[in-house]
């Protein structure tokens, strides 16, 4: 082995590979911009002056030429908030049972089950909701069609629960083994372990998981479309029908290209995009804050 053996050689493959990999990553990122871009490019020319603002805040009254998407924004927020409110305690309880409170033997099986649940197609939740839950709500409430915010939120709550549980479990599992052993050694019960060690250590993870699940609920189309009734109105009670932004897009995209109604879906898309971006940004900020402290 002489000196030339150790000479740096320019590795063509390495350079080429690096370029290719970088380009791929860049392309993927550009897609994100592209998605917004196409909506704006296609949607923007459709609007006249000041129309966008009217659409964003105005009421929906096609007879008077009002095509505001405010009712849809309310519908979306109502349904997703409610579903998270229902789902959160349930998910937290389940995650706690799986990770801390329940017997070790069951944990793996239950976790597997929860993982499998995330694989149940959304359309199936919707389909069963329509034919099982909606009549149930209709009969219990005694009024209306049963297609309402409550029904949609209930189904959505079950739909997002597995994801939320997995987020929680993920953060529970990061609690150092030694902390748990310490509580065990001190003679603490499982509930004490949960309340005094696990939960305080996981606040950040729990918040992040909830925020991300909220994002998931916001973006769901099928459940709201099939179960919430799709009436365009500002909902007053849980038993009122409502339309979400996502359902609005799905319903109107088949309409006439030139109608104002049609133009509003691009605005809906942009609003959804924006809310999602905020949610993701929020989740990331929460995660950051914890790591700096």
């Amino acid at each position: 082995m002489n000196r030339s053996f150790f000479q740096q050689k320019r590795d063509r493959n390495e350079t080429a590979a690096r370029a290719l990999l970088f380009m791929s990553a860049l392309v993927c990122c550009l897609l994100v911009v592209l998605i917004l871009g196409f909506m704006v490019v296609t949607g923007l020319p459709l609007f006249g002056q000041n129309q966008a603002m009217d659409l964003l805040t105005g009421a929906w009254s096609p007879h008077n030429g009002g095509y505001g998407i405010a009712p849809m924004i309310f519908g979306t927020l109502w349904i997703s908030f409610l579903s998270v409110v229902i789902s959160f305690p349930m998910s937290l309880g389940c995650a706690a049972y799986i990770c801390v409170l329940g017997p070790h033997g069951k944990a793996t099986v239950m976790k597997r089950c929860v993982q499998m649940m995330t694989g149940i197609p959304t359309i199936i939740y919707g389909f069963v909701g329509v034919f099982l839950l909606v009549p149930l709500i209709r009969n219990t409430a005694g009024t209306g069609s049963g297609m309402c915010i409550l029904s949609a939120s209930l189904v959505l709550a079950v739909l997002i629960a597995p994801t939320m549980i997995l987020f929680f479990i993920q953060s529970f599992d990061r609690v150092p083994r030694s902390w748990l052993d310490a509580v065990d050694a001190l003679g603490g019960s499982r509930v004490q372990k949960l309340v005094y060690v696990v939960l305080p250590a996981c606040v950040k993870g729990i918040v992040t998981g909830t925020v991300l699940s909220f994002g998931r609920a916001l973006g769901d189309t099928l459940v709201a479309l099939m179960i919430a009734g799709n009436a365009i109105q500002k909902p007053d009670s849980l038993l009122d029908s409502a339309r979400t932004l996502t359902a609005h897009i799905a319903l109107v995209s088949a309409a006439d290209f030139e109608s104002m109604e049609f133009k509003s879906i691009f605005l809906c898309g942009a609003v959804l995009y924006l809310i999602t971006a905020l949610v993701i940004l929020g989740a990331r900020l929460i995660e950051r804050r914890g790591t700096h402290e």
Partner: protein, 232 residues
């Protein structure tokens, strides 16, 4: 004592701001076994990783000072940025504490460094792999199952396989990080014997926690115990 193979001059090593090694000056003789001893956390593994620049894979690691190794006739600086670290690692073999066979067949494990170096000629590969396995005394045990998974071997066999893998490139320097500490005494003895046999071809640097082992095979000892600066 044989002529020096490696010269280390005023060497400092840091992980971020944490200084691990300070002002090390040593010479390592050629065709001999140099043993590094010292308490846990003293920086023995870190020291070993200086010779094939494996420390560069750790973010925040930094080295100051000079390490010169003599390949063919002249000394050259290992940390010279113009020196190809890939080639360096092909010329400096390393064996770890835990046997780390890759998830492939026994034969492919030993042939792997050749493949990395672009040596593909079938005959050559066959010969060099066989030679390396034989050199490690593993041949009778594996000659009928070369295409079996390397993970099916016993711990001692795996470690000898790793030696064979490190030797297939015919390195002039071989680094061993506690090569026998995860093995039973018999397998450990075989590795030791192998190291002694390798002396004419190689310069060996070994981290060891076993005083009796050091006693048996080391030609030189570098002690990393804080406060002691002993060489034998």
């Amino acid at each position: 004592m044989t002529p020096p193979k490696i010269k280390i001059e005023s060497l400092d090593f840091y992980y971020n701001t944490h200084q691990i090694l300070s002002n090390i000056n040593e010479t390592i003789p050629e065709n001999a076994i140099t043993s590094i001893i010292g308490p846990s956390g003293a920086g023995k593994s870190t020291f070993l990783s200086l010779f094939n620049r494996l420390w560069e894979t750790t973010p925040g690691a930094r080295v100051e000072g000079r390490i010169q190794a003599r390949f063919s006739d002249s000394f050259m600086d290992i940390n010279d940025p113009k020196l190809s670290v890939i080639q360096l690692r092909r010329a400096v073999g390393m064996v770890f504490q835990m046997p780390n066979p890759l998830p492939m067949s026994i034969f492919n494990n030993v042939a792997f460094p050749l493949k990395l170096a672009g040596i593909t000629e079938k005959e050559t590969v066959q010969n060099r792999v066989t030679t390396a396995i034989k050199a490690c005394g593993l041949w009778p045990e594996v000659k009928d199952r070369l295409d079996k998974k390397a993970t099916t071997l016993s711990g001692g066999q795996q470690q000898r396989l790793c030696m064979a893998r490190a030797l297939v490139m015919e390195p002039e320097i071989l680094l061993l990080d506690e090569p026998t500490s995860s093995l039973d005494p018999r397998s450990g003895a075989m590795i030791e014997e192998l190291m002694v046999q390798l002396k004419p071809r190689c310069t060996l640097i070994m981290v060891s926690h076993q005083p009796d082992q050091v006693e048996r095979i080391a030609d030189q000892v570098i002690d990393f115990t804080p406060g002691s600066e002993s060489c034998r």
